[in-house]
């Protein structure tokens, strides 16, 4: 249980979310899809940590989000070690699809640099408008398409990364029909994680093919096929 006290250096508005640069050694940076349990010192006295995920930024900078609205630059933040299973983009893939479903695209966009680095085409499938300020930070090689494009041509991607709120899983399955996908696919399930695994409280539970699993410890990223038929 390494605990680090770090400073919130800068605060960035990313669409509707607030992200922050936290002064952390690189070895503490969470990977795409992982999270860092953080708690502002001398505030947030309910005792709960906020899980912060890597979100879109430029090279050599790590922005974490979404920050609670009350956090201010200069605040000291206690951080536990990065936690959970993130995305694992296979080195062989050539056509990467990103599907932020009903959530901001910020967490998935952290996969863009790796995708482009391995010469893959990267498409973002979404029906929600992408805020100007976020769009300005997305490399121009990334194609932005409506979800219908994926539903019509589910064979195009050879890797798909989904980001969805637990409460949106059923609608997602109904609308997007992910069982028609043949490629490798992973899903980040976004849900409150009050105990971040410390208490096995079960509030973050999802049903999977292999029984109940906890998003905080077994996720937040799952193979899509593990949850697609049973999740609720």
């Amino acid at each position: 249980m390494a605990i680090l006290s770090a400073k919130l250096v800068e605060v960035i508005q990313l669409g509707t979310e607030i992200a922050g640069l936290i002064d952390l050694p690189v070895k503490y940076w969470p990977l795409p899809g992982q999270y860092l349990p953080c708690q502002r010192l001398d505030g947030d006295m309910d005792g709960l940590a906020t899980p912060l995920f890597p979100v879109l930024v430029g090279p050599n900078r790590l922005a974490l989000g979404a920050l609670p609205a009350t956090w201010q630059p200069g605040d000291l933040v206690a951080c536990a070690a990065p936690q959970g299973h993130g995305f694992s983009l296979p080195g062989s893939v050539r056509r990467v699809g990103l599907v932020p479903y009903g959530v901001s695209p910020n967490r998935l966009l952290t996969l863009v640099p790796d995708g482009l680095a391995q010469q893959a085409a990267v498409s973002l499938f979404t029906d929600r408008g992408i805020p100007e300020d976020v769009l300005a930070r997305v490399p121009s090689q990334v194609e932005i398409l409506p979800l219908a494009a994926l539903v019509e041509e589910p064979g195009w991607p050879d890797y798909l990364a989904v980001d969805v709120d637990r409460s949106g899983l059923t609608t997602f399955i109904d609308q997007v029909a992910p069982h028609t996908w043949r490629c490798e696919a992973e899903v980040l399930i976004f849900t409150p994680m009050p105990c971040r695994g410390v208490g096995e409280c079960g509030v973050c539970a999802v049903r999977t093919r292999r029984g109940w699993r906890y998003v905080c410890a077994d996720g937040p990223v799952f193979p899509l096929k593990e949850v697609v038929h049973v999740a609720r």
Binding site: I3, C38, M45, D46, V198, G199, E200, C201, V203
Partner: protein, 264 residues
């Protein structure tokens, strides 16, 4: 191993060598090595709630923040007493501190079935009883009747249960009473009203008052309290409780640790 020759084993009395425990549900089913820093500060480890049959997470599971705390509704998921024991008995026995097993009980039959499975296990200090919210004094008396045996019984009562159960509690004279978080309700994201326990400093004044009522009645009391600061620990200890139960503070990054490691 905690039980040793030197130490007097007093049945029906609870001896804690440090004035802290965790609230049931906050540190899982067994004192795992990953919890070591917290465990060093605790006088006993209390398990997550365990039921007779397995329980799955509540369909409307949720954590809902409010000013000063949060409501938690989990459904108390657990694999049931039989699987919990086969999975965790070794870890309980090998633990660096004594274990209090928390049982969810609704009927005397529950306890009559569950308790014998625990007797004879090593390093169990006591059995805590999680009670239904509308627990009648007669039910509590019947539960004690059914649970009479080797292990001291520690009933858990929330502040709104204190006035109803105070009389029967003083009559039963349990090894200790554990004062646990009040129940509440809040609208969830979709407007549905979600019931659940309340955690965080918002509950402290209610808990301190209820602790005083129990102590004044002559009971030995372990009290949770939404405790996040040392002055709250001190106020509870000065009131005369045996130990303070830490809840949500143990889920923070280092708040719980600061409480556990501070000099009294």
């Amino acid at each position: 191993m905690w039980l040793d020759e030197e130490r007097p084993v007093l049945k029906r009395e609870l001896l804690l060598d440090k004035p802290f425990v965790n609230a049931s549900g906050t540190l899982g089913f067994a004192p795992e090595p990953r919890l070591a820093p917290a465990l060093r500060g605790l006088g006993a480890f209390i398990t997550n709630p365990i039921s007779r049959a397995p329980r799955v997470p509540a369909a409307n599971r949720a954590v809902i923040p409010f000013l000063g705390g949060f409501l938690l509704h989990s459904g108390y998921p657990n694999p049931g007493i039989t699987r919990v024991i086969s999975h965790f008995r070794q870890r309980w026995a090998a633990a660096p501190l004594p274990v209090i097993v928390h049982l969810l009980v609704e009927t005397p039959a529950d306890i009559a079935e569950m308790l014998p499975k625990l007797e004879g296990l090593e390093n169990i200090l006591a059995v805590e009883l999680g009670l239904p919210p509308d627990c009648h004094p007669d039910l509590l008396a019947a539960l004690f009747e059914a649970g009479y045996g080797e292990l001291p019984l520690v009933p858990c009562v929330s502040p709104e249960q204190v006035p109803v159960l105070l009389g029967v509690l003083t009559g039963l004279g349990p090894a200790a009473v554990h004062l646990v978080e009040p129940r509440g309700a809040l609208p969830g994201g979709d407007g549905e009203i979600i019931p659940g326990r309340l955690y965080g400093p918002a509950i402290f004044p209610v808990m301190l008052r209820a602790a005083r009522v129990l102590v004044t009645a002559g009971l030995r009391v372990i009290a949770n309290g939404g405790v996040t600061a040392r002055w709250q620990v001190d106020a509870l200890l000065e009131t005369g409780v045996l130990a303070v139960g830490l809840g949500s503070a143990l889920w923070g990054i280092d708040q719980g640790m600061r409480l556990l490691s501070a000099e009294p």
